[in-house]
Subunit: 144 residues, 2 copies
DNA sequence: TTTTTATTTAGAATAATTATTGATAAGGAT
DNA sequence: ATCCTTATCAATAATTATTCTAAATAAAAA
């Protein structure tokens, strides 16, 4: 087994370093494509790095999101979630179990043009959130 | 001047009454089409009904939203906003001044079909939020 | 009228997030 | 290497939006 780290370096810009904590938080997000909250990231990171603190996880997530290497996802007023999927996509949010699933936006660029934003406004990004019941919960609901 | 209330009655359903507080909160939302937060609604309602409390405003907003006569609008993790525009529409959120403006979705029904939600999932509603700079702030930014 | 149920209010409680502070560590210049 | 500056981390305090609790009030039902 090789003992060197052959992953490509990740530039965070703005004089920010890729510290062990930031790398760990980043790894946690890359491992699974679910959408963990800061607390969930904290719990997963803690397994391999017991000394990490929740405040640091918040800081890391903020830095990583600011650098654009992960995305912060907000559905309604629930705790923020984070994901490593950088491709343009929307989110499906289950009203019953709270799961968040990615929605592929095949025509993201097209879609953006259909929004009639106020004249003179500039667009930075857009978020699409669909709320309903995920397949599993929909099935349970039908059975009732 | 007539002293009777000739506004059409609003049914809140579920055994809920249209109380003076609920009516006041509802009026505040109908008066302007901006998107006040609960605290802003509270301040406006307090002018004509000084005894109203913030908790009551939260309760009223929740009841009105539950009955479907007003809409709760969430952008990012900011405080919830409320609006009386029941037509399907998206929201434009200014990154600089925080203003929230309605975006007309002429083809809301069409749009909904373009989302490839997970197979077997049921859709309840969808939210579209565009983030950027409103005309006023975009102009200021250009001047810099 | 009595009983029940819904509502309001003030204030306490909660939960997510941010801010503060002191300690530690990394980088660059000398 | 040594000094100096800046970034980072961890613990904990503080903040903020919102919800909960409990007691009082009011309206509807019986």
């Amino acid at each position: 087994m090789s003992d060197h780290d052959d992953r490509p370096p990740i530039d965070l810009g703005g004089g920010h370093r890729m510290t062990p904590q930031r790398r760990e938080v980043y790894e946690v997000l890359m491992e699974h494509s679910d959408h963990p909250t800061a607390t969930e990231v904290f719990m997963r990171a803690k397994v391999r790095m017991p000394s990490i603190s929740l405040a640091t996880v918040y800081n890391c997530l903020d830095t990583l999101a600011g650098a654009g290497v992960v995305k912060q996802v907000n559905v309604d007023r629930e705790p923020s979630r984070y994901c490593g999927n950088l491709a343009p996509h929307g989110h499906f949010h289950c009203a019953d179990c709270g799961t968040v699933l990615d929605i592929d936006l095949k025509n993201g660029a097209e879609l953006a043009k259909t929004f009639k934003v106020p004249r003179g406004a500039t667009v930075e990004r857009f978020d699409i959130a669909v709320r309903g019941r995920c397949p599993k919960c929909a099935k349970v609901a039908r059975a009732r």
